[in-house]
Structure formats: C-alpha cells, structure tokens
Symmetry: C2
Subunit: 507 residues, 2 copies
C-alpha cells in the first residue's frame, strides 16, 4: 500500500512530526480505517526516502497518542477505538508554541475562549448523552436526496451568481410562515436574515448593535458560544442569575445594557422556561432602559406539551426583541443554517452587515430547506422525531428514577436535553462524569459542558445534563445500568471503608 | 388563480404597501412569471377582503416601479423585462425611514457602505460585461450532480454533527495541493482555513489581527468589499496609489500599519500585476515594520500566459503573508466557498476564531469541492473554461480595437476582466456606461463598480472595465457593435452641433 503522504524536507517542522501529523490526519478522517494495518516502517521509509528511525519514532508517537497499536514487532495497526480530535488540537497548539515567530505582533487573544469551543469528548463514547445533537439515524435521507436533486436540476444561475446576502427569498418566506405557526411570531420575510447557524447570528447581532465597549447582560450560567461571541466583539459581560423561572430580571433593576441575551423557552444549560411574569418584566426593562433583547430559541422546535408560551418576539410591542433560530437541532448542524429575525427598523442594516460579513449563505442548503418546509416535509419530520425524542426522554427519566428514586428534573417540557439534580449523597456530577466516561457513557456536569459560569449556586456540583435524542431506548437502559453498577461498586467500597474505619477505631 | 399572499391587517405597514411588497416578491422570485396575467383588482380584493381601491393603488405602485403593466382597463400583466432587486432595496429603506422606531438606540452605521454592496444593475442587461462572474453555461453540471449524490450517499453523520470549524480535512488537503501546483505556495493543510468566500476571509483576518483602531494600508483604487470590511471592523484606511507595477510600496516608506491589503496577481480593479521588485519591497517593508500582508488572489486561477509570478505567500520567508483564495470565480459564488492560508503561528487562533464566527462551513459544498479537486475534475474544468475565457478576451480586444483603433489595455494576462483606457476624445466612461445601459449593454466605470477611491489619477474618468467570461463571442461582437452605433450617432450629432454653432457665430 502506497500512502499518499505529503512530507516537505525543506520545512522547519521535523520529518517525524510531519509524518505523524499526516498519518494522524488520515486516521482521523477515515482514510486509514480503524483496525487496518499500516505499512511497515521499512516500507514507508523507502517510499518517502526518509530514515527508517524517523518513521519508527513517528509510529511511536502515534502509538503513545492512541492512534496506532503494535500487535507484533513487524505489524502496526490503526486502533479500533480512536481518541477524538481534541487531542490533536492540543497537539497543534504545542507546535505553535515552539514556533520561532511568536515574536511577531500578537493577534487577537482567544486563549481564555479555547476550552468550550473544542469541547468534544477525548474519546468517542458508545453511550453518549451529548447535548444538542439530533439523531443521525432519524435524518430524512430519502426526502433530502430527492430535494437536492430537484433543486440542482432547477438551479440555472444559482451556483454561478451571488444571491441576496440576507438569504434566498423563498426560504425567508418559509421561515416567516413556520414562525407564525410554531411560535406566534408575526414577521415579514424582509425581517428574516438567513445566517450560518445561531453562532453567526450572535456575531451578526453583536456587530449590528455595535456592542464593543457596551454592557451585555447574559444568563448565569450561560451558553458559552454566546458569551464568547459577545466578549470577542469587545462587550462587557453582566451576568444575571437564572432560577426556575429563568432569567431573574429583578437583578437588572435599572442597570443599563445594550443587550440582554436570554434563552426563554429552554434555558441553556439548566432547562427552565421563563415565566410569563418574567417575560413581561424583561420587555418592560428593555423599553424603559432603551435596550435590545436577544431571544435565542435554539431548540424551540421540540415542545412536548401542547401550549408553548408565546415567544418574547411575539409579545414585543416596541421593536426591542431580536430573535435567533436554527435548523441545527431540527435538521442538522452540518447545514450551518439559522436565522435572525430583526425589528423592521434594523432589517436593512442587518442585510448590509450580512453582505459585509460573508455575502450570504450557500445556495443549495437554502433551496433544499425552503422546499423541505414548503412541501410540509419539515412538519412531518418534526412530528416524527418529536415522538421519538419524547419516548427517549421518558425512558431516561424512568430509568434514572428507577435507579435513584424520585428525582428533581428541569427542562423536561421541551428541548433536547434535561437537567437532573442528583441526590446529595451521590458523588458530584463531575466525578460521575469521569467515572462513566471510562465505561463508555457520556453525561455532562456544568464544569464540562459549553457553559460560562460566574456565580456558584447551591447544589450546582450535583447538576447533571443529559441529551437524549441520539440514544435509542435500549441504549438508555444500558447506560443507566452502567451508572447503577458504578454506584453499587462505590457503595460496596464505602461499606468496606466503613468496616475498615471501624476496625481501625477498634484498635 | 388564488395568489398565496400574506397580508396582516394588524401591521403598522399599510395594506397597500404590504400587498405591493408581497406581489413584488412573488414576481422577483419567479412565482409570478414574466408576461403572466395577475388576478383582477376585483378578484384580489374579494380574496383578501380588502377594499378594491387598496388593490388598485398597490397595482399602480407596481406599474410605476416596472413590475406590472396594464394592457387594458381589466387586464394587468407581469412585465416581461423586470427591474432588478436593487429597486426594491431602495424601497425597503424608505419603509424603514418612516418607522416610528428611529428613536431607538442606533445600530452600527453602515450608511456610507451601502452603494457598493448592492451594486447590482437596476435592470438586467442582455449584454453585460459584469465583473467577476463565471459563465453559468460552463458550470460542470453533470459532474457536480454526480458528486453531490455520491457525497450524500456517504454522508453518515456529516449533516447531523458539527464538523471541524476550520473546514473539512480532505478539502484543506486538496486546497494545499492545488496551491502547491498553481501558485508555488507550500502550506500544510493545518494552515488552510475554509471560509464562506473571500468576503468572510477578510473579516476573519481583520478580527484575527485585531485591526480595530489600527492602520490598514489599502490599494487606491481598492476593492470595495475589502475596504468596507476593514472599515466596519474599526480600522483606519491608509490608501496607497497603484500604478502599472501594482501597489506603490515606496509611498509607504517607514509608515507603520498592522496590515497591507493587496491584489498582486491582478489588481482590482485596474488589472496590473505587481512586479517582482515591488513584491520584494513589500515583503521587506512588512518585516521591517512588523506588519502583515493580506494577499487577495481572487482570480489567480485564470492565467493566460505560461509562467505566473510566484505569489507573495510563496516568497514569504518571515511568516508575514496571509493568503486569500476563493472558488467564487473558478466554480461559482453560489457555493460561498473560499479559504485563508495563515502562517503556522496564527493557525490555531484562526481556527478558534472561525469557530466563534460561525462554527464552520456547510458540509456538502466542502465534500463536493474536495472530491471535485481530488478527482482531477477541477483541473479539467479550469482548462476548459480558461480556453473559453481566453477566446472571449481576445474577441473583446479585437472588436474594441477594430472600432476605436489601437488601445491601451491593462490586466489582460490573467483574471476575468480587463481595463481599457478609452481614447481622450471619447466621452468619459461613466457617460458611455449610462448610454450603453439603455441599449442593454453593461460596461463599468470606476465610479460605478465595487471600487473605493481616494485620490484621482489622470485619465481615471476614461477607464472602462469589461468582464468577459459571461458573454459568448457573438454577444461580444453585438455589444461592441452597439457601442459603435452610439459613438457614430454622437459624432453625427456633434457635427450637427458644430454646424449649428458655426451658424450661430456667423449671425
């Protein structure tokens, strides 16, 4: 086998490093399949005309990193269980630090914004309650393929010309229609700006309101992607505590801010729904202090009770609310498709800004999604996956209570994850997270999730987050079974410790 | 016919306005085809339960704007020749101005950056020498369709998960390979960041280098998208004149800047290629003053002579150059796909920043383009369209010289447009542009192109820009023929005027 490796002898990067980097990449991207044999060091050294020892040391490095395994002196294989990319991110950072060019003028400093952005698990977990991911197996593959082919057939100039920077018109019409039915928001398509996921929406709003050197009120705890976006645009953060009614507006009083960022349908990460009273208070605060509200409705397509509260945007009578939606949860993040709904007086500036930022979203995704919505297939897809997600949520709650007794849950009426307040006699969520990881189960504590926190609150170390859409019911049972075995082992060893202690006391 | 119109009686926008907006949109987006009859005012007033006079006035408005035409008292039709969307943009702006919410805190002010962003022609021209658009008829439709279907079939989790924010790895490898062959740039794929077209690349670089409150040296005249992006990020512009050797580095001397933005292969808009001496000087300046260079190689895939100069990025020995490339010219802007190549020490920060900005590009476009390059189809496509574009360039130059005699051209060795310095006895380019527009021909003067200018230079009003890729040779002949007839008419009327003048003098 000839590997298509690209090694540059003139580079400042050592040959060993280059070789390890290239092979790691081929493994990560599946060009070298897990379990497959790689060429012998001798073969590769001949192919690349590099010293055999260089290849040996590159292989050793990859063995140490968990990408390769040596089964005998002569045969090396790609590991079946691969570490994830974040290992390699750390690795690239090391290379950078060694670079002699650090004396160059420093770019923007994002060093305190690294962790959450790359918060992928260090290894893939077989039973992962990941937050905010739809189930790949429920993706509407056949319908999608058909729509893609149809749209391509009718594309004409769409691929070779610039579209409207604010988005494809039929998609903006379809989104306005969807919002009218789903969230009671009445908007004109002109006020809908198509963006590359809600992350871009956050940037668009931050730049639109010129938040540099202004104050932005955020939830505490807050979705990290939002806090980091605002911070990177130069805003000062004003954290406002969240309770079971959501964002505690009274903590704001008459404090002035350019913007308040909130997740009223399903607070991220805690899951609470903002009460009607708080909604009114927040709108009143914005109007009184001349502020805007950014309503991030990231997973509002998943409501499991019949009457959702009206969105802040639907209640807004003073053009104070900017609404952020996404198809990352309802269809998939691989589309990078979301939307911002702005008040009419901001629509034209938002469109110009989107043109300045990247001149609009790729055409095909927009065309397909507008057909997907327009044909009713989106509605049917939502009904179908909602039903599955609800079954999984119920199974998860049932299994957890079966194991631990009655529990305090939050965020169960909607969304794609729930919050479980673990009983106080259990280990902290972070410890459980580490122990479960070793047996292939992923749960999330507030310290290891894409969450920005300022103040602590009582019991916050016992908050565990479970995203349930990606695990079939049988996997949920198995995962909670593993949790049970860990807790049983712990209580056995605790009993043993107590015996030992009492024995010690007897001495 | 029941039109699916959405009218909101509770809106602050008048019913007439809403109705006109909705119908205009249906026309612009092809839901109402050019030439088709629209419902009578009576039918529509019954359908919508609005006063007939409201419908009459909405129709009158659209007739005035050129979207509808009344052929008789009872029958109204969609115009066959539609005005383009920019009319409607102006219209939205008017609505905004009337809004009572102007008292709200003002967002970012982009009012001086409007013109160029929406510089679409007011009407579609039959013979348009548009700048920087590939020919839709040469798009590789069949290959594209096949690759899209292949990629979708192998997608697995790609649509329902987040990808690497810096881009799909195989695409980054493919881009690094393409650059090695096409521009002599040796880069590791880790240093390639996939972005949504070069416009997003400009924003990424501006934010990466934290250019707010710093000086950015730009070409004068400069590509407007670049100047506006830097300006909107808070940088001060330092315009540097361009001559036939490109960016005049000597004008910079020891002036300090964070960044110099240049288009060395094919200066936008004038077309000159930066000389080798200037390239060395610029690199030396950057190293001496601790600045970065942003090399925008927007149309470098089109070289019509055998030996292109090495890119600044390929000559850079001090990690000073950031390189910007795009697939908008070589494949099509509807993909919104470009790339930034950063020095190794900026790679990890650039990746974090892209994650902050929008968490990466949609998957499908990336997968298809990486296959397109990897399979050799991109290379073949470039060979095929280069051949056509070269024929069109030659035809254009031949026809222009046939009409006007020997001419001074710039920017003919590469790219997708050329600059023609019109003879001094011709009207200024801007006047010709206006006259030609009336007969369906689009040429571009420096005042009506996406160009930012600071100083004037001698003869700049006689600079005409012609983008030739979209017009077949026969259309080029026809267009230049129309130019000929305008000039002939002008010289006839000038002769007549002279006769009149001389008669006047005789009196």
């Amino acid at each position: 086998m000839q590997l298509p490796l690209h090694i540059d002898p003139a580079s400042r990067i050592s040959l060993r490093q280059q070789l390890a980097d290239e092979m790691r990449r081929m493994i990560v991207d599946g060009l070298l399949a897990p379990g497959s044999e790689v060429p012998s060091t001798r073969t590769l050294s001949l192919q690349l005309s590099v010293a055999r020892n260089t290849v040996v040391r590159a292989y050793e490095k990859l063995i140490g990193e968990g990408y390769l395994e040596a089964r005998s002196a002569a045969a090396t294989f790609v590991c079946r269980d691969l570490p994830d990319r974040c290992t390699e991110v750390a690795h690239v950072a090391t290379v950078v630090d060694r670079s002699p060019d650090r004396a160059l003028r420093a770019p923007v400093d994002l060093s305190d914004m690294q962790l959450g952005l790359f918060s992928r698990p260090a290894q893939r977990l077989s039973h992962d309650f990941r937050i905010g991911r739809p189930d790949a197996s429920l993706f509407p593959k056949a319908a999608w393929r058909r729509l893609v082919i149809e749209c391509l057939g009718a594309s004409q100039h769409a691929l070779t010309d610039y579209g409207d920077p604010a988005g494809l018109w039929p998609l903006r019409v379809a989104i306005a229609g969807h919002l009218r039915h789903a969230s009671g928001i009445r908007t004109r398509p002109e006020e809908v700006i198509v963006v590359a996921g809600s992350q871009e929406g956050l940037n668009l709003v931050g730049r639109l309101l010129n938040i540099s050197d202004t104050t932005v009120a955020i939830e505490d705890p807050c979705y990290q992607g939002a806090a980091f976006a605002m911070k990177s645009l130069g805003a000062r953060m004003c954290p406002v505590p969240v309770d079971d009614e959501g964002f505690d507006v009274s903590a704001l009083c008459d404090r002035r801010a350019m913007l308040a960022y909130v997740t009223p349908s399903h607070q991220f990460p805690l899951g609470s729904t903002m009460s009607v009273g708080r909604r009114d208070q927040l709108l009143e605060w914005a109007n009184r202090t001349d502020a805007y509200i950014l309503e991030d409705d990231y997973d509002s397509d998943f409501r499991y009770r019949s009457s959702p509260l009206l969105a802040l945007k639907a209640l807004d009578r003073h053009d104070r609310v900017i609404y952020l939606g996404t198809f990352s949860k309802s269809i998939g993040p691989g589309l990078r498709l979301g939307y911002v709904v702005v008040p009419a007086h901001l629509a034209e500036t938002a469109r110009s800004l989107k043109a300045l930022m990247n001149n609009g979203h790729p055409w095909l995704e927009q065309a397909v999604v507008s057909e997907f919505i327009g044909s009713g297939a989106f509605h049917n897809h939502l009904v179908r996956i909602r039903k599955q997600y609800l079954l999984r949520r119920d199974r998860l709650m049932h299994e957890l209570e079966g194991l631990l007794g009655p529990l305090c849950f939050e965020g169960v009426d909607g969304g794609m994850h729930l919050t479980c307040h673990l009983p106080g006699d259990l280990p902290p969520a972070h410890d459980l997270q580490q122990q479960l990881k070793r047996v292939g189960v992923g749960i999330y504590s507030l310290t290891e999730a894409p969450v920005t926190r300022h103040a602590r609150f009582a019991g916050d170390d016992h908050v565990a987050l479970f995203g349930y859409p990606c695990l079939p019911e049988s996997d949920i049972c198995e995962a909670i079974g593993r949790l049970g075995r860990i807790l049983a082992g712990r209580s056995r060893s605790r009993t043993a410790t107590q015996v030992h202690d009492s024995r010690g006391a007897r001495v």
